[in-house]
Symmetry: C2
Subunit: 242 residues, 2 copies
């Protein structure tokens, strides 16, 4: 791939046009390599590195670039000297028994990245994103996943109203409802979370049979961060499995 093209991968429209995205830094490239056996389609990835990384061990094709070229590819102020171009892939086939997390119009790439990292940590869940959510291949989101995006099946542009056709039992998180500590919380196929500022608008949920749950708090502040809510609920669900 030409360097001018790689640079354009910082923009969503070019990621879609070229069918690939960019990851930056040693840690993410290592995570990519660790994920190759699990999803051989990732072998279409290519690595670009500077002289500093000349001895990098990898089964993937490697291209040497100058420090100056690297600075042009990278979005960060102090580029780490290694990036990879990775194909955009439809979510790998997963066991139908895998449960789902559904994020409604999530906006913050850091939140999305943290959530994927938590899903990879505990395992057993796929991630569905509504239309108008932040792009998971956005550089900030990718960085925040710390490589987790290679370990979690992700589906984008899934309309909320399609959930009942796919999932029998749906729960959603909000400021009112049963406590997530009640055993009943464990019995769902799909867990729905709202946007950072607006939560889940009532009209969005209209016509969907879903049970409301909440994380009990002290009342000192209005709400928890959405990524914090997901972390806590995934822990609660993982705890129940053991």
């Amino acid at each position: 791939m030409k360097l001018e093209e790689i640079r354009k991968l910082h923009q969503k429209k070019f990621r879609q046009e070229f069918g690939c995205f960019l990851i930056e830094g040693e840690h993410l490239v290592l995570e990519l390599q660790r994920a190759l056996p699990g999803d051989p389609r990732l072998n279409a990835s290519e690595i670009y590195l500077t002289a500093e990384f000349a001895h990098w061990q990898t089964p993937l094709p490697v291209h040497r670039v100058s420090a100056r070229q690297m600075a042009q590819l990278s979005e960060t102020r102090s580029p780490q000297g290694i990036v990879a171009v990775v194909p955009l892939l439809p979510a790998a086939e997963i066991s139908p028994a895998t449960r789902a997390l559904y994020l409604y119009e999530i906006q913050d790439p850091g939140n999305l990245g943290t959530i994927l990292r938590t899903l990879a940590w505990f395992g057993g869940f796929r991630c569905l994103l509504s239309p108008n959510s932040v792009d998971v291949h956005n550089a900030k989101a990718v960085r925040a996943t710390a490589g987790a995006l290679f370990h979690v099946p992700i589906e984008a542009d899934v309309p909320l109203e399609t959930l009942p056709a796919r999932f029998r039992r749906i729960a959603h998180l909000g400021l009112a409802g049963q406590s997530i500590s009640t055993p009943g919380f464990r019995d769902f196929d799909c867990y729905v979370y709202g946007n950072e500022a607006r939560g889940l608008p009532r009209e969005a949920l209209a016509g969907i049979r879903s049970v409301a749950f909440t994380i009990a708090g002290s009342g000192a502040i209005e709400s928890l961060n959405v990524a914090a809510s997901v972390n806590i609920c995934q822990y609660e669900l993982a705890r129940a499995r053991t």
Copy 2:
């Protein structure tokens, strides 16, 4: 305060010189106002607003500024039209029974903000920060707290080695240790978390009697985000209280 001075509050050295910090936007100013009864020292705060917010209800002193002046004060691209200058205060006196979270060299303002939001949500904890941690009055950190910093007692520049003199039972979180789901996890006065990249260096913990705990995961990725770990542990501790 002069507008040129307020603008300088985006830098830590001027926050320390002037003894105050800046909060931006309607939501944070509302949270400040909600916190006034709990800490009357916050009444030394002052509000700056544009014509758009002319009818803002507040017991605090108000200064009108032009949209252009506001754009100079604000760090965000589309300023919301209302900011407040808030005094930097030593952590309010709290019950000695309040337990503590200790963050060792945390670097990411978003992580620190999320953690404070979670502490405010569940209550019952103060937050201690090691030297070389991100400044909690950094604009990004303040934004990420969503106002929680007015509800959590915070102490900065607390050396790790001073903990044993203050706390009888210390726990720390890491990649190995007992599961936080075991009842023993609840019995500590202070919970220690490490830096985003390096965790808790062994030498930092040398000489401190502390029990190691971990959040059991699937093994797909290396680690959880530190804010995610705190969220999960605070939920576990709050769950045990009820």
